[in-house]
Every structure is written in C-alpha cells, then in structure tokens.
C-alpha cells in the first residue's frame, strides 16, 4: 500500500538524513527514531530483519561512545549515536514500505528519470542471485586448483566482472528483444499517483523537522 508517493518519500528521507548530518540536535534525532518506529509499527513492518539491523547498530554505537569519551567530547558522542539510529530508522521506513518495483515506476513516471537508468538498474538488481552463484563458482574453481581467493585477490573480481560483462550484453539484448529502447516513449500500466497531498505531507514533515531543530 502506498501512503505517500515513493519519489517524494525518497526525497523527503534523503533531505532529513542530509539535514541531520549537519545539525547537532540530539532531541531531533531521537524524535526521528520514535516517529520512524511508529510509522513502521502502523504499517506492520517491524520484522526480525529490521530488529536485527537495529541491534547490530549497538556495535558502532559503543565504539563511538568510547572513542568520543577518550578523544572527543561526550556531547558529540550523544549526537553521533542518536544520528546513527535516526539514519537506520529512516532507511527502514523507506525500504520496508517501498519495493524496488514501486520506486522504479515512480522515478520513471513522476521524476521523469531516463528509462535506461530505471530499467538498467532493475534488470541488474534482479541478477543478484546469479552473481552470488557465480562468485561461489569462481571460488570453488580456484579450490579445484588448490588456490584460495579472498577479497584482496584481483583474480576474484576479474572473473566476476568478466561474467558481469557477459550478463550485461545478454540482458541488454534480452531487453531489446522485448521491445525496450532508450529514450523511446512507453505506456504505463500501473500508474503511480503524484498528488498535492503528497507534497503537503512532505512539507508538513520537513516543517516539523525544522521546528524541532531550531527550537528544541
């Protein structure tokens, strides 16, 4: 269910993330975490995966606290930690309530992004499983020759990219065989609505953000 237009949602999330990068209001950050959490709760999107990500953040959290206490200031420590959790919550509010598909269609229809970017990205993204298999194959092929390839071995990337180049060729041929060409006009089956209400929702949120930063 789309409560707010995906493109507007994305831009809003990014603006918020950008603003809190440069402001130092701990309360604002905490507010973002709470509201974000609420949003996820309402949409029933508090999954185990989401909780895991929030839990994992404890590691850098403790790290930041220790580091700022020893070499920086405690106040900065609070800001950074709350900011970290704000980022994560913001990210979750987006990725847990929007599919790549919806985002892609919205970018194409609402932001008029060139289709080569939208569908090139989606096509590539849908090959994730093949790429992962490939890399496992490459590692095993190396084992058969008594070689271990690690993340610092150029050969591992080289082989993976060789395959990727081939996939990119095949996929672009495949897409063309299904009628796709860059810059061509396309009709749209599922329309992603962009209403005044989307703009007002976004403006409202950003306004609250400004108030929070300045006054609280």
């Amino acid at each position: 269910m789309i409560l707010i237009n995906p493109s507007i949602k994305l831009i809003t999330v990014l603006i918020i993330a950008l603003e809190i990068s440069f402001t130092q209001s701990t309360i604002t950050n905490i507010l973002i975490v709470l509201i974000g959490f609420l949003y996820l709760l309402i949409n029933n999107k508090i999954t185990w995966n989401a909780l895991l990500i929030l839990l994992l953040a404890i590691i850098p959290t403790v790290g930041i606290f220790m580091s700022q206490n020893m070499y920086g200031t405690a106040a900065m420590g609070n800001i950074l930690v709350t900011r970290l959790y704000a980022y994560i919550t913001l990210g979750l509010t987006f990725t847990k309530t929007t599919t790549i598909q919806e985002l892609g269609l919205s970018l194409e229809q609402n932001l008029k992004m060139p289709t080569k970017f939208v569908y090139g990205f989606m096509g590539g993204f849908n090959l994730i499983n093949y790429v992962k298999q490939d890399i496992a194959d490459i590692k095993q092929a190396a084992h058969f020759r008594n070689i271990n390839l690690h993340f610092w071995s150029p050969s591992l990337y080289f082989k993976a990219i060789l395959s990727a180049i081939r996939y990119a060729e095949l996929l672009s041929e495949g897409m063309e065989s299904h009628g796709f060409s860059e810059q061509a006009y396309r009709t749209h089956y599922k329309k992603i609505a962009l209403n005044k209400s989307d703009y007002s929702k976004a403006t409202f949120i950003l306004l609250i953000l400004q108030i929070s930063i300045v006054f609280i």
Partner: protein
C-alpha cells in the same frame, strides 16, 4: 554529462556494485569485529577509515572499466541503492554517502579529463577521494571533536586504505581485464 552512458553500461555498473557487495559481505563482518576490537582503545572510528577503501571500490572500478564521464559517480549511487535495499546496516546515510563518495572518486578522473588511466590516475583518485571524504566526515561524523593526533591517525589510515583498495587492487583488476582483451 550522463548522456553517453548506455543501457549496457548501467546494467554493468549495477552488477559491479553487486559484485563488490557480495565480496565485501565477509568484510562487513570484519568491520564489526574490527570495531569491537578497537573499541576498548577508543579507536573504533578507525575501523571506518581502515575499510573505507573497500566500500568505495565500485566507483573507481567502474571508472576504469567504463571510461566515460559520470561512471564512478553513478556506480557509487547505484551501489548505495543496492546496499540500502539489500540490508543496509547504515540506513539512509548509505545513499548520501554514496553520492558523496561518488563525487569524490569521480573528480579523480575528471581532473585528468577522462583521458589518462594509468598509474597517474591512481594517485589522483586516491588524493581526491581521501581529501573530500575526510572533509565530509569532519563536518558530519564528529571528526571536528577529535584531537589533532587522532585526526592525523585517521587521515593516514584512510589514505593508505584508499590507496591499497581503490588504487592498487582496482588497477590490478583493470590490468587483468585489459590483458584478456574483453574490453574491446
């Protein structure tokens, strides 16, 4: 500027980001472990600077393979979206970091007019990436609160990390691809 990138390029850049993401999945664990190890000494942010070369690899790698304007930047941005949807540990900041890191490595190639891709370009991308990302972190990640000894340590670590991964490793990979003549 982005006109010359075609569909095939864009698919390839997405795939390169996925490749880096898959190979670094292990390195992601490493980040957490290194952070934990460094925490008692208060040196946890060092983990960020140690491994930053890895996170930013997709950019320069794309720059060497697709020698067109914008390929580093777009690759980093596409990569950040891949990472965000794939289970990003850093949430919304991933995309912003992606844009920032993309610009940083892109400038390394821009300075050379997108014409020089030898070992010279390694130096230029290393310098632009290190400096720009460091300035960014100064403003954004509380580096401004650190003492100057800490800052020097962080800077040098970052420089080395970027040089090793974005520079040397990336160039070695590009050399192999060149040798295989697959980049016609």
């Amino acid at each position: 500027m982005f006109k010359s990138l075609n569909l095939k390029n864009i698919i390839l850049m997405t795939l390169i980001s996925i490749i880096c993401g898959t190979i670094f999945w292990i390195a992601g664990f490493l980040y957490n472990i290194v952070t934990i190890a460094l925490t008692p000494m208060g040196l946890a942010p060092l983990a960020n600077d140690l491994l930053i070369g890895l996170w930013t690899m997709a950019g320069p790698l794309s720059g060497y393979i697709i020698k067109k304007a914008g390929s580093s930047l777009i690759a980093e941005v596409l990569g950040s979206f891949v990472e965000m949807f794939w289970g990003g540990q850093w949430g919304a900041s991933t995309v912003i970091s992606g844009i920032e890191q993309g610009i940083a490595s892109e400038l390394g190639f821009t300075i050379l007019g997108y014409k020089i891709y030898g070992w010279v370009s390694i130096i230029s991308t290393t310098i632009t990436t290190t400096i720009i990302t460091f300035i960014w972190d100064w403003f954004r990640n509380g580096y401004s609160a650190y003492s100057y000894q800490m800052l020097i340590l962080l800077f040098i670590t970052r420089l080395v990390s970027i040089f090793v991964f974005n520079g040397i490793l990336t160039k070695l990979i590009a050399n192999l691809l060149e040798k295989s003549t697959i980049l016609k």
